[in-house]
């Protein structure tokens, strides 16, 4: 991930709480953000996501490592001089200022009329015209987040940091506000880091997703690669439903409890195959299995299956296809090429077979 156009480069950053001897929350984190790129940092709560973001903004001290912006080391640059915008959870609007004055807060360098023009422009871009005189408590959740973004964009930062900005919005609203925010950032050509715990959210809007687990970045890739070729068993389960099957590989086909499964050519040996539910077929020639449970998800059904030797698997079938019933017998097979993990390599996880 080297090359031109890197706006933000995080190298070997560790950070913790409670002074120098306190426990580390971030360990040796590397992250690059290219100009105009939208990067998500995905992790469960407590994984260090927010600390990473605060470290980049200069709001939390770095124990070791460097944060560079366009090649310039930010170690001695205070937050107010970094040119990095921040949209915290809940927006954190200034409760004593109107919407317009919130957005104009970072524009001290502009003179009155210029500032007013810039504020009006931003409000228009985020479809907030007419709300300029409102107080923050008079806004809806979605409006509040849009004002927070307008405020962060006002001084034209090189990077905007978004700390779970959509987490507290209603499900329906969330997608709409998220689309608005992403479109605005893309139009402005501003790079962004989105902190989130929601795998769907990270996948749907990001150019790249970095997964943070217990303070370390465990994989940093495009969403498609992260999904189809996770680096560890933990990641395989974290980024989506997966059936993990151990078996002996001859270098191209692995022998699993669900039958022979093709994978990208590699060394022969014991491997773990990562089988996604959409790769599992029902009712075609294969291994016989029992339907344990069926979950309806609108666009599809997830079918939980048990094979004779105790292995369980999950299959996704289109919602319009005939639905199997719990207790029915069926046959299972795996189609397409699956991703395999060398057992033991890069996996700190338990290696027994299961699904997540």
């Amino acid at each position: 991930m080297t090359g031109d156009g890197i706006v933000l480069r995080v190298r070997g950053v560790s950070a913790g709480y409670g002074g120098r001897r306190g426990p580390l929350v971030l360990r040796d984190v590397d992250l690059d953000v290219h100009a105009g790129e939208f990067v998500s940092v995905l992790g469960v709560s407590g994984s260090g996501k927010t600390t990473l973001l605060r470290t980049v903004a200069g709001l939390h001290p770095v124990a070791t490592g460097t944060v560079e912006m366009r090649g310039r080391d930010l170690a001695r640059v205070a937050p107010q001089h970094r040119g990095i915008g921040l949209v915290p959870q809940e927006g954190a609007l200034f409760g004593h200022l109107t919407v317009a004055r919130n957005v104009g807060y970072g524009l001290r360098r502009l003179r009155g009329p210029e500032r007013a023009t810039r504020v009006a422009e931003l409000l228009a871009r985020l479809e907030l015209d007419g709300l300029a005189g409102r107080m923050p408590h008079e806004l809806s959740g979605g409006q509040r987040q849009r004002v927070a973004l307008a405020r962060a964009l006002a001084p034209e930062p090189a990077v905007v940091l978004l700390d779970e900005p959509f987490a507290n919005l209603d499900a329906g609203l969330r997608a709409a506000v998220r689309a608005d925010v992403v479109a605005t950032l893309r139009a402005a050509g501003t790079a962004a880091i989105l902190i989130t715990h929601d795998q769907d959210e990270a996948f749907s809007v990001s150019d790249r997703v970095a997964v943070l687990h217990e303070g370390r970045i465990v994989q940093d890739d495009e969403p498609e690669i992260l999904y189809s070729a996770p680096a560890t068993e933990w990641l395989a389960r974290f980024v989506g439903a997966a059936t993990l099957l151990r078996g002996e590989s001859d270098g191209a086909v692995v022998d699993t409890p669900l039958g022979p499964v093709r994978h990208r050519p590699g060394r022969p040996g014991v491997v773990t195959a990562v089988v996604r539910p959409e790769q599992v077929r029902l009712g075609e020639p294969g291994v016989s299995a029992l339907v344990v449970a069926v979950e309806f998800h609108g666009h599809a059904r997830l079918v939980r299956l048990a094979v004779a030797d105790g292995t369980t698997a999950t299959a996704r079938v289109p919602a319009d296809a005939g639905a199997p019933r719990p207790g029915e017998a069926t046959t299972v097979s795996v189609t397409g090429t699956v991703h395999v993990l060398r057992t033991g390599a890069g996996s700190s996880d338990r290696t027994t077979v299961g699904h997540g």
Binding site: P79, V87, P88, G95, H96, H137, L161
Partner: protein
């Protein structure tokens, strides 16, 4: 329930109404004459000047203290929290007395300002401490990324968040400074409370005293209304949950030591100086205090406190329950009237009840029942507030279940609501007892001849210049008064 509440409200409003009636009986001309004479204006100006100076002092000292305690990393953080609220334990007249005992002849504007600022600052510090602790650090983080340094970010973003709390606190300070009699009279500053007392005891000029008392009441009620408005605005629409609390800043060892020393110096001045002066006075007096006299005053004080607390709780329960459980205009009126005493200076209630007892029931003039009634009017708001809060914490659904299980409304109160609410109600009663025991101006005007409380004991010895003889009573009062301050600071910290 409404009838009982209404009866209590009528009792609470009686003194003020009677005062207005008596002033009116004197005729419009007399009232206008008193109102327009230069002396009245001078007294009002003195009072306003004092209130403004004390408010400003408390605002600066209180906000500074709160900011230092919350935002600077100090050794023993809990200690500073308690120290900041403890001065409430020492009544202003005790501090004034201690200063007088240390420097006899002290008097006038600046000493009164000093005493009142030290005594009243916690009314600003405590709410600002709470507001700062609850403040969301998110906006301050954003302000840093938008080009402000740490101090500028705090000043433009976090400080405005806590300003309404500080303002509400300083309006309470204004109210207590307006109503203060002891410190003002001891340090001979010519404010309205002093003038009401002087014109009543000196010249027995009833009309002047009544009119001045009404002017004072108008000021006080204005403060109460202003405080209510500010507080309502402060809480409106601020239901934002703090996603992150700000971490305290670590200063260097020298700056930390300097901060701690500064805070300790203010605490020592307001908390240690008065008891230290009192103790040294007792030791220097040489002769042993008059233990019998002191014991008699102490017992009287305790008894009055207990009786007043019991009466006030009985009166407060119907009003508190109404306020907690029912909405509506009549309930609002009842509650507002019950809270009237909060805005009535002790000297005004004292004067009003002197008139009332002389005018309606001369047999009761200067008897204990009238004195206890005065306490009830003055301190009813404390018990109503406590009762209301305690009852509101009992969910109505619990009462409804009790009703469906066959209990009557009253039976439910005794079996469920009252059972769960009584600790809060009792705490209110305790607060009333302690406040009663410290009360000075109304007690001075209404006490039966020959009956002395610790406060009046102190007052009489001091007015004769016998500081040594007054010191034991003062020290006892400090002990008594520490009880609710301790409660208050505990509750503040637990929140």
């Amino acid at each position: 329930m409404l009838a009982a509440g209404a009866a209590v409200a009528v009792l609470a409003a009686l003194p003020l109404v009677y005062l207005v009636v008596r002033a009116g009986q004197a005729g419009g001309d007399r009232v206008v004459a008193v109102l327009t004479r230069p002396r009245t204006w001078e007294l009002a100006a003195n009072t306003v000047l004092l209130v403004a100076a004390v408010c400003l002092g408390c605002l600066v000292l209180g906000v500074t203290t709160a900011v230092l305690v919350v935002r600077i990393r100090l050794p023993a953080p809990g200690l500073w929290w308690v120290l900041a609220s403890l001065p409430l334990a020492i009544p202003s007249y005790i501090t004034a007395f201690a200063w007088l005992a240390a420097w006899p002849g002290l008097n006038g504007f600046w000493p009164v300002v000093g005493v009142m600022v030290l005594a009243c600052t916690p009314y600003v510090t405590i709410p600002v401490l709470a507001a700062l602790r609850l403040a969301d650090a998110g906006p301050e983080d954003v302000a840093r990324t938008l080009g402000r340094g740490p101090v500028a970010a705090f000043a433009t973003v976090t400080l405005p968040q806590v300003l309404p709390a500080a303002l509400a606190g300083s309006l309470l300070v204004a109210l207590y400074t307006l109503s203060d009699f002891g410190a003002i009279a001891l340090l001979r500053y010519q404010a309205l409370t002093w003038a009401v007392h002087a014109s009543y005891t000196g010249t027995l000029d009833r009309v002047t005293a009544a009119v001045l008392a009404l002017v004072l009441t108008a000021f006080a009620l204005a403060m109460v209304l202003a405080e209510r408005r500010v507080r309502r605005r402060a809480t409106a629409g601020r239901a934002v949950v703090a996603t992150r609390r700000a971490d305290p800043v670590s200063l260097g060892p020298w700056a930390t030591a300097a901060t701690a020393t500064g805070l300790a110096a203010v605490a020592a001045l307001s908390l240690l100086l008065p008891p230290a002066v009192l103790a040294s006075r007792i030791l220097r007096a040489g002769t042993a205090p008059d233990w019998v006299d002191l014991a008699r005053s102490a017992v009287t004080t305790l008894a009055l406190g207990a009786v007043a607390a019991a009466l006030v709780v009985v009166l407060a329960v119907p009003v508190g329950v109404l306020a907690a459980r029912y909405r509506g205009r009549s309930v609002g009126v009842v509650e507002s009237l019950a809270y009237l005493g909060h805005g009535l200076p002790g000297i005004v209630v004292g004067l009003a009840l002197v008139f009332l007892s002389l005018g309606l029931l001369p047999a009761l003039y200067q008897t204990a029942p009238v004195l206890v009634f005065a306490y009830a009017v003055l301190f009813l708001p404390k018990a109503v507030g406590a009762t209301r809060a305690a009852v509101e914490r009992v969910p109505t659904s619990v009462e409804e279940v009790s009703r469906t299980l066959g209990r009557s409304a009253l039976g439910t109160w005794f079996a469920v609501t009252g059972r769960q609410a009584w600790p809060g109600i009792a705490a209110g009663g305790l607060l009333v007892a302690v406040t009663t025991m410290k009360e000075l101006p109304a007690t001075l005007m209404l006490r039966p001849i020959g009956l002395d409380t610790l406060a009046t004991d102190l007052w009489q010895h001091t007015s004769m210049g016998a500081y040594g003889a007054a010191a034991p009573a003062a020290l006892l009062l400090v002990l008594v008064a520490s009880v609710p301050a301790w409660f208050l600071s505990e509750r503040g910290r637990r929140r």
